[in-house]
């Protein structure tokens, strides 16, 4: 506690630090909120400048951007059906229908408050037990457990956003296949990078990098949304959604308290595991809220609880993701890898010694993340009253801007032009997918988890001498795989019966 106060004092006792804190907060939120660019773009732009900054300021800046950016992506998800980042994808399912119903203010209000609550809860957990949690997680979760967790996540989230179970699974499988493009995780063998297609020979080093999920998301959501709206406009059937400015009431928050708590726990645990992070957290949070909610029939049609579930979970993952980074020196994602880079540029190595060698710095980081999450509420409340006004701008003026930013965002990811082509192709496919009842979010989920899952699966198989049943010899992985299989069986039975009796069957 004393260290936390010291950290806070260091943070706000210095004018320059306050300025950087504020800029990081606003910048992260803005970059998160603009479709196409995201917090990674901002991070990559700022990285070279951190060499000359004080290490405290640099690390603080990036942790604030991280917290604010994960929240910022929710705004466009809710207003335009365009998630700012993959972890905001499940927010679209209920956030966008709420906007169409003129309840955008409530949806953004819920996203703001829940992001903050999830973030603060995870920052507190992080401050209390970073070292302990990290050493537990690294021992308990080997490749087998990570694979089992991914399998479980896919099993329970597969039908999200699709018309029915079969279309949901097909969407996920399409994503899993796309995930196999590029070099394989074991032998580094390039796949699909050369061959012939209807007699046309092709060969490309670019494809050895694989298909990344960010351009797919931009295509599926941003480009295809622009196409869909353009069709509505040309047919004269587009209704401009009304801008709603109401904040959710206390009673509404109280009614979703269990969902919030569940999402905090899910988000925190998903965040601790390097590489899994916020995206699986958001999907799991959403699917579990759907599973246990009394209002499950209303999910996907503008249910506040859906927004709460996904936004709480993805922000709860932010604090947790700092744990393996700080305590073990293992970055979980692209932005945490940049934070690790900053530490190293300034001659510090994240790991157990960082609490001894650079304790002050760690506590400034903790304090910055805690306060960033609190300030999200304030800024978010302002945004509820202001950003919603964007809905009043005619879409034909917004569309070119969205497309331009999407192109920049796709290119900026890896500075490879193939990502821009992938985005436009995904935009056209996504437009067709939407009309057919398949789930674009399912494809993206399959793609993200397919890459992680294949990597974990191949390592597990090598460790277990290619004995598949080895998964059942380890308690955590056995439990997760069994639960996943049970979830699949139950959902198939339900689908065949066509009845909503899942709960009765499980209990």
């Amino acid at each position: 506690m004393e260290q936390f106060l010291d950290g806070t004092f260091n943070l706000f006792g210095d004018g320059q630090a306050v300025l950087i804190f504020a800029l990081g907060l606003i910048g992260g939120m803005l970059f998160g909120a603009i479709p196409g660019v995201n917090m990674l773009t901002l991070g990559a732009v700022l990285l070279p400048f951190t060499i000359t900054m004080q290490p405290e300021h640099a690390v603080m800046l990036f942790s604030v951007i991280y917290c604010a950016g994960v929240f910022g992506g929710a705004i466009t998800a809710i207003l335009f059906n365009i998630p700012g980042a993959p972890e905001n994808a499940p927010t679209c399912f209920d956030g966008y229908p709420m906007t169409m119903q003129g309840r955008s203010g409530k949806a953004i209000g819920a996203a703001v408050s829940c992001s903050a609550i999830g973030g603060v809860a995870s920052a507190v957990l992080m401050m209390s037990a970073t070292g302990l949690i990290a050493s537990w997680a690294v021992r308990a979760f080997g490749p087998q457990e990570v694979f089992a967790l991914i399998f479980f996540g896919l099993a329970v989230s597969a039908s999200i956003g699709a018309e029915n179970l079969w279309k949901g699974w097909l969407s996920v499988f399409a994503g899993l296949i796309i995930a196999t493009v590029g070099t394989d995780p074991v032998g580094g063998i390039p796949r699909f990078n050369e061959g012939s297609f209807f007699g046309l020979e092709f060969s490309s080093y670019y494809l050895s990098a694989g298909i990344h999920f960010i351009p797919m998301i931009l295509g599926f959501f941003a480009v295809s949304e622009v196409l869909t709206q353009a069709m509505h406009i040309s047919k004269g059937t587009r209704e401009r959604p009304k801008a709603g400015l109401d904040f959710p009431t206390i009673a509404e928050f109280l009614s979703v308290r269990w969902t919030m708590l569940r999402s905090i726990v899910i988000g925190f645990f998903a965040g601790i595991l390097p590489g899994i992070g916020a995206t699986l957290a958001a999907f799991l949070g959403y699917s579990q809220a759907h599973r246990w909610s009394k209002k499950r029939a209303n999910f996907g049609k503008g249910e506040l609880e859906g927004v709460v579930a996904s936004e709480t979970a993805n922000n709860a993952a932010t604090g947790a993701a700092m744990i393996p980074l700080l305590a073990l020196g293992l970055p979980g994602g692209a932005l945490t890898a940049m934070i690790m880079g900053i530490f190293q540029i300034h001659g510090m190595e994240p790991g157990p010694l960082i609490f001894v060698n650079s304790g002050d710095l760690v506590w400034i980081t903790f304090a910055a993340m805690f306060w960033a999450n609190l300030f999200i509420i304030l800024l978010g409340w302002l945004q509820t009253k202001t950003v919603v006004q964007i809905l009043r701008v005619p879409f034909r003026w917004l569309a070119p801007g969205i497309l331009l930013l999407a192109v920049i965002g796709a290119y900026a990811l890896r500075n490879l032009f193939i990502d821009v082509w992938v985005m436009f192709l995904a935009g056209i496919v996504g437009y067709l997918l939407r009309r057919s009842g398949y789930s674009a979010a399912g494809v993206v989920l399959g793609l993200i988890l397919g890459k992680l899952g294949e990597s974990a699966f191949s390592k597990s198989m090598q460790l277990m001498d290619y004995n598949f049943f080895g998964f059942f010899e380890r308690p955590i992985s056995a439990l997760l795989i069994t639960l996943g299989i049970a979830a699949i069986i139950v959902s198939i039975i339900n689908e065949i019966r066509g009845a909503d009796v899942q709960k009765a069957l499980m209990d």
């Binding site: 991070g43 990559a44 990285l47 070279p48 060499i51 690294v138 021992r139 979760f141 080997g142 490749p143 590029g182 070099t183 995780p185 074991v186 032998g187 580094g188 063998i189 390039p190 490309s204 080093y205 670019y206 050895s208 990098a209 694989g210 390097p274 590489g275 393996p324 073990l328 020196g329 293992l330 970055p331 692209a334 890898a337 940049m338 934070i339 690790m340 880079g341 900053i342 190293q344 540029i345 001659g347 190595e349 994240p350 790991g351 157990p352 010694l353 890896r414 500075n415 490879l416 990597s455 191949s458 390592k459 090598q462 460790l463």
Partner: protein, 331 residues
């Protein structure tokens, strides 16, 4: 007093001149070159080892040669995805590629067509380092190389090693040479992300790790990893307790990890000369030297000029091809 000050001043000047020796040797800047920023392509992600090196070197070359660099990361495909963009850029000296020895093994295996020693011109190598084998210090089955070998021989095929798994990688080739020489049976577990291996060793999911000391310095300092074997001809000062592979009875010339900078073939000679001189001056830069020291790059000679780099590359290609023939990989 005045005299003393003069002497002090003069010796300071001499010291500065000595320190800045390579910088003083900078040739004249070719007319117009460097008026706009140069692009430095890094084929790996922001924040990683290659990215840190590129940014440190860009800063050093800015200070020494007055060139400014824009560092651009083009990650993917184990470093291959960046190559087409580099090959598409005009050979005008404005595009510099950072790459590591992966490019050489990829060329030897036939995964890429470009020969780094012929189709590209190496400006210099600025990081050359050796590999080691690491264990957990609290492992109760073995505590040094001798007890590790005894354990591995008693339990053939049981010991797992976390490795970067690309077929024909430096790691796998070196381990194959070691295993052949000592008749060891160590199970290689292929990982695709370097940092995951560290967690796998610390968390007890694998038994040993193959890595370069600079990449795991934080774990070494924290006492979470311990080297038991060094792949080098003699024991470096920093690791006096770990035997070398020669001492362990394996007689081969171990491949090293090296990182360096390239431009395309056909770059005008005056610009090439300037860049080569800039790279040399950058290596001698104080800030860069400090960076390299943190990465344990001062233990062996970490610098090669263009000729030295070409020799290093050609030797490595020959070793890889030879090993691939024995192992039956590549073409």
């Amino acid at each position: 007093m005045k005299v003393l000050q003069n002497i002090a001043g003069a010796s300071a000047v001499v010291a500065v001149l000595l320190m800045a020796g390579p910088a003083a040797a900078m040739p004249d800047k070719p007319a117009g070159f460097g008026n706009r920023p140069l692009t430095m392509i890094v084929p790996f992600g922001a924040g990683g080892g290659s990215d840190q090196l590129a940014r440190a070197m860009a800063k050093a070359m800015e200070e020494e040669a007055g060139l400014s660099f824009q560092v651009i990361n083009k990650p993917g495909g184990g470093g291959t995805a960046a190559i087409p963009d580099f090959m598409l850029a005009p050979a005008d000296g404005y595009t510099v590629l950072e790459h590591i020895d992966n490019a050489i093994s990829a060329y030897a295996a036939g995964d890429i067509r470009e020969n780094p020693a012929e189709d590209w011109i190496p400006l210099c190598m600025t990081q050359i380092t050796f590999s080691q084998i690491y264990i957990r210090p609290d492992d109760d089955r073995f505590s040094d190389w001798e007890s590790f070998v005894a354990y591995a021989k008693a339990n053939p095929g049981d010991v797992t090693m976390a490795n970067l798994g690309k077929v024909g990688s430096k790691e796998l080739v070196v381990m194959q040479q070691l295993s052949d020489a000592l008749d060891l049976d160590v199970k290689q577990i292929a990982f695709d992300k370097p940092a995951e291996r560290y967690g796998a060793l610390i968390g007890g999911h694998v038994d040993v790790l193959f890595e370069q000391p600079g990449d795991v310095r934080n774990f070494l300092d924290a006492g979470q990893m311990k080297p038991i074997l060094t792949f080098l001809d003699s024991r470096p000062d920093a690791f006096p307790d770990a035997p070398t592979h020669l001492e362990a009875g394996a007689d081969f010339d171990a491949l090293k990890r090296f990182r360096g900078f390239y431009v395309k073939k056909g770059t005008p000679q005056d610009r090439l000369d300037y860049l080569v001189a800039a790279c040399k001056a950058g290596f001698a830069n104080e800030g860069y030297a400090e960076f390299n020291k943190k990465k344990y790059m001062h233990l062996i000679d970490s610098y090669r000029d263009t000729e030295g780099s070409i020799e290093l590359i050609n030797n490595a290609v020959a070793t890889y091809r030879d090993m691939y023939k024995q192992l039956g990989i590549g073409n």
